[in-house]
């Protein structure tokens, strides 16, 4: 291994420079305000958790966790998501005071380092969890809120794809008979390997009609008629419940006025066993990665001892900033230069600025080596230099 240069930081870690910080803060503030307007309360949890509890319960794969040991030799993880720590707090404490519970967070998450660029090992996520409510209204609320916060952040073009775990699960069960065989089909879809899926379907001892049902399901997308098309693939009762839920969801989303952002997609699959009902992903035109995602996860709270359902979403700040692509014009501070004999005047002038919430820098001229290049960075410059009354 080569010796480190002094400027280097660990792989996957990024600095946030001042202009980027302001931009991030502005976006975060707009989103936070919107979430609070919907009655969500913000909270924080520690960056470190036990591997045995939060690490185990998290949907993030073990090899993606950042691990370290504490002094007692217990394995700790840097939190890989916020949903699991919030589930821990909700189940052990907050649900006793209020149920359903509406919580929000903006926090840095950690995932194992990867050699290649474009995959930060630490990134900010902002999101909500609606815990204790298993109705379709709760699913709709999170999706409508997601659309609403994205609009509040200034994003205009985005698409939320919405699916339901239950439909594919039941369709596969009806056709291939056992959970084990259905799992194989789901695995291909989860790995995005449609070629493997088709080959697997071809190799199954099924009628050509059933094979066609398995292939056709990949092509159902869009709001007009896709639920009917999906329903036509089903035989028997299983799976219809999921479609009814999607139907109801779509109609609630219409009431919220966000149906234009939403696209039904029954072939949407996400993490293999984490989501238990409605699930969704959001995309922006100009970013190649999924901006944010969410869904219903009714099994997680059980792991922490509370028998309640929950739903929520998280948005990646880094991808959102890429999608917004804008840079804020920072409020430029004014500059007051002073020499020692007029320090008092300078301080009084600065106090005036600050009282009006205007940023101002007060700088002793003796502290600056190159005065011309320093002052060139400011539009508004006041000098309190030399004898009193000499203001330039």
């Amino acid at each position: 291994m080569s010796k480190l240069f002094m400027f280097e930081k660990p792989i996957g870690m990024r600095d946030t420079f001042p202009h980027l910080y302001s931009l991030k803060k502005e976006i975060r503030m707009n989103i936070e305000n919107e979430m609070m307007n919907w009655g969500y309360e913000f909270m924080e949890t520690p960056a470190l958790e036990y591997d045995e509890t939060v690490g185990e319960a998290s949907a993030i794969l073990d090899q993606q966790l950042f691990k370290l040991l504490d002094q007692q030799g217990r394995t700790l993880v840097l939190r890989p998501d916020m949903t699991t720590p919030i589930a821990r707090v909700a189940a052990s404490k907050l649900l006793k005071d209020r149920n359903p519970l509406r919580l929000a967070y903006a926090a840095n998450l950690f995932r194992a380092q990867q050699r290649e660029g474009g995959r930060p090992a630490e990134f900010e996520q902002i999101g909500v969890e609606l815990i204790g409510d298993s109705t379709v209204s709760a699913d709709a609320e999170t999706i409508a809120l997601m659309a609403s916060v994205l609009k509040a952040s200034g994003l205009k073009d985005f698409t939320i794809a919405v699916g339901h775990v239950g439909f594919l699960q039941e369709l596969f069960l009806q056709i291939v008979g056992t959970e084990e065989r259905a799992e194989k089909l789901r695995k291909h879809l989860y790995e995005k390997n449609y070629v493997g899926y088709r080959k697997h379907v071809d190799s199954l001892p099924l009628s050509s009609i059933d094979k066609k049902r398995l292939i056709d399901v990949l092509h159902i997308q869009g709001n007009g008629g896709s639920i009917e098309k999906a329903e036509a693939l089903l035989e028997g009762e299983g799976g219809r419940g999921a479609l009814r839920e999607l139907e109801e969801l779509l109609s609630v989303l219409k009431d919220y006025g966000v149906e234009d952002y939403v696209k039904m997609d029954v072939s949407l699959v996400s993490h293999m066993s984490y989501y238990t009902g409605v699930l969704f992903e959001v995309y922006a035109d100009n970013v190649g990665f999924v901006l944010g995602n969410g869904g219903r996860y009714d099994n997680l709270l059980k792991k922490f001892g509370a028998e309640v359902g929950a739903t929520g979403f998280g948005i990646r700040m880094d991808y959102l900033m890429e999608a917004l692509g804008k840079s804020v014009v920072q409020a430029q501070p004014a500059l007051i230069l002073f020499s020692a004999e007029r320090r008092k005047e300078a301080a009084a002038k600065a106090a005036e600025f600050r009282e009006n919430q205007q940023p101002v820098i007060v700088q002793d001229v003796k502290g600056v080596t190159d005065l011309d290049s320093f002052t060139a960075g400011f539009k508004e410059v006041y000098s309190f230099i030399g004898k009193a009354g000499d203001q330039a």
Binding site: A161, H219, G288, F289
Partner: protein, 208 residues
């Protein structure tokens, strides 16, 4: 409407893929094949082609700078990118194999394998219950056993001629390889109609 960006591998697969796209009814200019440009616009079809090293195609597609691409299954297995594998184009048939000098055994203490595909080789041998040491080479892999660098190689075999000419024999067949149509996950959802239309048209060509 936004143009669809396609990452194409330079070389032999490119020519075969262009023939397929033409057969699928895409109106590509006649001089398309022998252009030396790295980016080719085809405004008539609202398409843009990026010419890339075969190994790099999934990278462009994963990062979304190309919406779709054509990549060998060997590259897909090696790179494990988060992209959709939509269609087996059934061109550029070949396979990955383990080869070495005839009548030799692998070293028992530290069996060594030379390959351009360290991931594929490593997971193949692990699945066989063998722990091997991988040495990555970028070309002329066949030399490795001849000059005593490694016991075996893992490489692409299409006709077997190169192995034969270098006095090597095939020991194990790992997996068959063909070229695949791949798509960026976001593009696949946002430009679904255009991408699935292309998939359908190409599928008809594949099935003759």
């Amino acid at each position: 409407m936004k143009e669809l960006t396609i990452a194409m591998p330079k070389g032999r697969i490119f020519e075969e893929a262009v023939v397929m796209l033409k057969e699928a009814g895409y109106n590509l200019p006649p001089e398309f094949d022998d252009s030396r440009k790295l980016i080719i616009e085809v405004p008539e079809e609202n398409l843009r082609f990026i010419l890339a090293k075969p190994m790099d195609v999934p990278t462009y597609v994963e990062h979304g700078v190309a919406d779709i691409g054509i990549a060998g299954k060997d590259v897909m297995l090696e790179e494990e990118r988060h992209v959709y594998e939509l269609l087996d184009l059934k061109i550029s048939h070949c396979y990955l194999a383990v080869a070495g000098l005839p009548d030799t055994e692998m070293n028992e203490v530290a069996p060594r394998i030379a390959t351009k595909y360290p991931n594929v080789a490593s997971s193949y041998f692990r699945e066989q219950g063998e722990q091997v040491e991988i040495i990555k080479l970028n070309g002329s892999i066949e030399i490795a056993p001849i000059i005593g660098l490694t016991d075996r190689i893992v490489d692409i075999v299409s006709t077997g001629r190169t192995l034969k000419e270098n006095g090597l024999v095939e020991y194990e067949h790992i997996v068959d390889i063909t070229s695949r149509l791949i798509a960026n996950p976001v593009s696949y959802r946002l430009m679904h109609d255009r991408i699935s239309e292309m998939t359908d048209r190409l599928e008809k060509v594949v099935n003759g």
